[in-house]
Symmetry: D5
Subunit: 147 residues, 10 copies
């Protein structure tokens, strides 16, 4: 058994039991964004979080320490994602990548937006022309330092 097997068990339980990510998040006491990423094998739970996941998804006992172990990260099977929903995010990086770079450097100087000290919030925005997906990302600016 490894973390990837546990992710499969979680997804299988979710599908067959009709569990919702937002309900899982509420029980775990974290945002739905972080919780879903963790359930999908990208983050490590703390002990109470792991306990909650064990119960919600009915996992076998040996799953518990794996949930608390830092996983090998990366959730996609190919460098360029084939799934259309995920590809659109890749496309944003391809089209707007140099724009992100230009505007962050203009505002902050040389450095990056952290993908580690990072949080995000994804929600529905009602719109008469068709509801919209709204995503707010917030990452700490980390400056390159000379030495």
């Amino acid at each position: 058994m490894n973390r990837s097997d546990i992710t499969d068990l979680i997804i299988e339980a979710k599908v067959t039991k009709g569990i919702r990510w937002s309900d899982v998040a509420e029980k775990v006491g974290k945002s739905k964004e972080w919780t879903t990423a963790a359930c999908l094998g990208q983050m490590a739970f703390d002990a109470p979080g792991a306990q909650a996941i064990m119960e919600i998804f009915g996992l076998p006992p040996e799953a518990e320490p794996w949930l608390r172990t830092v996983p090998y990260k990366g959730s996609l099977p190919t460098p360029v994602p084939t799934d259309p929903l995920i590809y659109r995010f890749y496309e944003l990086v391809s089209i707007y990548g140099t724009t992100f770079k230009a505007l962050i450097h203009e505002e902050f100087g040389d450095g990056i937006m952290s993908a580690i000290d990072f949080r995000m919030d994804l929600r529905r925005d009602a719109d008469p022309n068709g509801d919209r997906v709204k995503i707010e990302m917030s990452g700490k600016f980390l400056p390159y330092k000379t030495y």
Copy 2:
């Protein structure tokens, strides 16, 4: 001459004259996000926009129709970007890709967030622990339809 040559001229003028993207945007009358992407060869300007760009960057006359022509899009030289700032966005897609998918499907059903009917806003968020980059993305949800 092609659009890529013009992007080079724009960048060269920006660097040597110290032009700011936000000032360009103001003169063009669009957001700094859209305007920067357009200057970097990813969007087509309308006639007044192209005129403004011609003046700001001192471009040669033959550049004008190119600015109004839809470009071949994609701003990055490699499928996995090497620049650390841009890579962090790729990493977000890699780590959170399946989470984006899971949460959008949970909220909206099958479909995607449009990368075309899309807008974004990037700004500095003051924070005592270090200022943060804040990005708001808004894309129309497009449902898969059965037929």
Copy 3:
């Protein structure tokens, strides 16, 4: 069990029982194009559709919720397809890709043809010089908007 296992079961049942996609489509009440794509793991069924599929292919009970779950899409094992029939479509994109782009932009301006709000119809066209495959594709034009 995951969606990919179910697609294998569907294909195996189709081959061994000699089921026809067009018959499946009729029972599901959708076009043969959408239904086949859904059976091959690219679309999510609604409840009655899933029920019909369960019966036609004799699937085990745990397959039902998977059929209603949005799958990770992408039906090909390699970025450039090796199967000659599928490769010809890839070749059309390679040869006519810039033509699609040129003509759509000429007619509609900047934007794309949606692959989501999309439908198609594939049929035989009798022809004395050899029958032809006729494919009609219809995708909503989505304009890039400035902001």
Copy 4:
């Protein structure tokens, strides 16, 4: 000078003179789909066609024999296209590739749809919910033969 240089000259003339592909096609006396592909370096013109292109785009004399020479085909710089409009067609192959295969084999048996004895028609379909791109493809079915 090679065919690729001539394609660049054609595109440059088109952009700077505001020539429309459909007008070119009319003068050449072929469909706009074939004519555009030929102008973009994917097809060989016959002598009158080449003559028409020479005049429309004001090409230098040495361009004429190149226009009548069969080019090395393939219009895209990368195996997976980065341009969003063209990518949507690649996505259709990725999502519907196995469906094309299943339905053509069901209707015709083993073989392929020719990408050589092929024609297509691309037009605007007015639609109250947003106009649509309509593409009709017609390719001869070529059966695999045993021997």
Copy 5:
């Protein structure tokens, strides 16, 4: 069970029973080239052919409909083959590819040699300096047509 499993069974039976491809071909009543390709999972058998294969290789009953089903084609695990015998053919395409193109276009005009309406014959040519492999390929010329 899928077609790939059946190809494995065929190869295993061939190796352990010492069956020769040419004998198989004779019983199937087709050329050894077509028959071998079909046994290796690249072609679909008709009913009598499938029956013959079932008997020769002692396949289980569920294999029969698979043998009559059009397979997903492509027999090599990597885009550039590692096996030296097969690589030499890839090398011929690499070295002579542009020569094939030049000579076929000179003789026939724009078009291709079909890989579908195609047959070949492979045999030993006695030669005092070492016997030679002789391969005759015959593919229908398919002209590009203007439209």
Copy 6:
């Protein structure tokens, strides 16, 4: 100047002067297959051959020693060729690669068909159902030897 520049000059002269490969071959005194490959930068000419090429294509004096120098071989810009005519040959390797291997090993034992001690002949085969491209390849069998 390098060999690749000379290949460009040869192609340019061929296109603009309407030279035929078969005429070049006759003057060089070799087959059209070998001569074309050599003109396209894949083989080295002997002194009289180089002289003939110099005259036919009107090359500058510094080209002569390059024509007699063994080139870095490989005539295609991508590992998987995009040109449809050349791709069909790649497809033959993909579909029939394991068949070539199976039949050559059955006839000759372990070894390969040489791509060096190799010759080929490409010609038109008249056929009432459409003329065919006929290619005869002959390569020496080279056995693996134990030691």
Copy 7:
């Protein structure tokens, strides 16, 4: 002119004038590691630094603003480096990558070593069995935070 041209000018001046990186660093007032990376196009200089570089390497005036502009980073022409010296570092990542991960997580928990808030020192370590390259790297630990 772009940053890459300037890097070429710097390297050319270094080679032809025999300038040493450590001397450059001393004049710039930074470490030799940071200064070399900056000269090789990976970091942005401040105004006095750029001025020093202009003088040391005799750069043309238009180079100055480029030196102060954040470059598109990534110094290698291929994803897997071909140069043996640089490959050895890639090999360390390949062999010890999972070890870095295991030990950092054991000591610090989930997070990364920053490649931005990072400094390093490279020096010669005398050793009777052959002098050694000693590299000290120091990167801030950045913890993943739950939210």
Copy 8:
């Protein structure tokens, strides 16, 4: 059973029993860096080391000779690592690769830093602005020799 299976068993035992790499190293009597790499399948143990590992992780008897066998090395599933912690090291090679090369050649002349006669030490450096990961690498310089 192969070495990769044993690595899986070691990782599973570590996770479920909460074993620490530094404790393992102490019992094996080697550094934690070397020991962890060896446990993760990158180095061969000597007999006492293998014995210690067998006991610590409770491995089955057939694992012992595998632990003493030199493994096929390389610990990462993709050429460009997806895990953020490991990617940062790849990024250092990408950004600083040419700097490593420049400084080592300046100090030592042509040659490389050995990745074989190599050792390293990884530890926590307390820092009021956030603790740091400190890595010391020491590799023998190996000069290219003329001959």
Copy 9:
């Protein structure tokens, strides 16, 4: 069962029983280089060789015909090998590839060194500065012939 399974069995037996390749070679009556390559799945044994291998490694009866069957060759899991020992040979090809080419053409004219009619010998060369690996390769020169 296939040849790859048998290679796994051979390696497992070698590791657990401590068999040496040179002893295997002696029993097989061939060189250790050829014998090892054959055991690792790259060559076909004759009947007595296969019999010897069956006994030495205690293989199951169905392995015997597989050992005598020509395998699909290629022993490495990735195009650029990750194992440091094997990578050094790849590096030699990368660094010295054009040198091999230049010197062989200078000595022999156009052609190649056969990798089929090839043998090699690998041994230890005692050296006071550290023992050396000595490899002698001998491959028949195969000239390109004109035709």
Copy 10:
């Protein structure tokens, strides 16, 4: 001007003046293997060697310091070489790579054959069945050390 330009000049001079690598080596006073690799841009010359090269190939004065500078190594344009002569060496690594590894580990234990402390000798071996290319490689064995 950079090292790659100088390599081009050397090759051009060699071709047009008919210079032989073995004569160059004699004048430089090194082996023909090392000298050729250095001329092809893979090694750095010392001062007298650079002087000799300047004269032999008639290089411009600014070439001299480049010849003494350590180059960015790697002589091939693609990871898998297309040139048949060079590919055969790649094939040897692919077929015999695991054999090299097995035999070197059996004889020496864990470690590698150095590609840095390395020399080789390539010569013609007369043989009544066709002359052979003989290559002797000698590389220092470098053991992995525990620490």
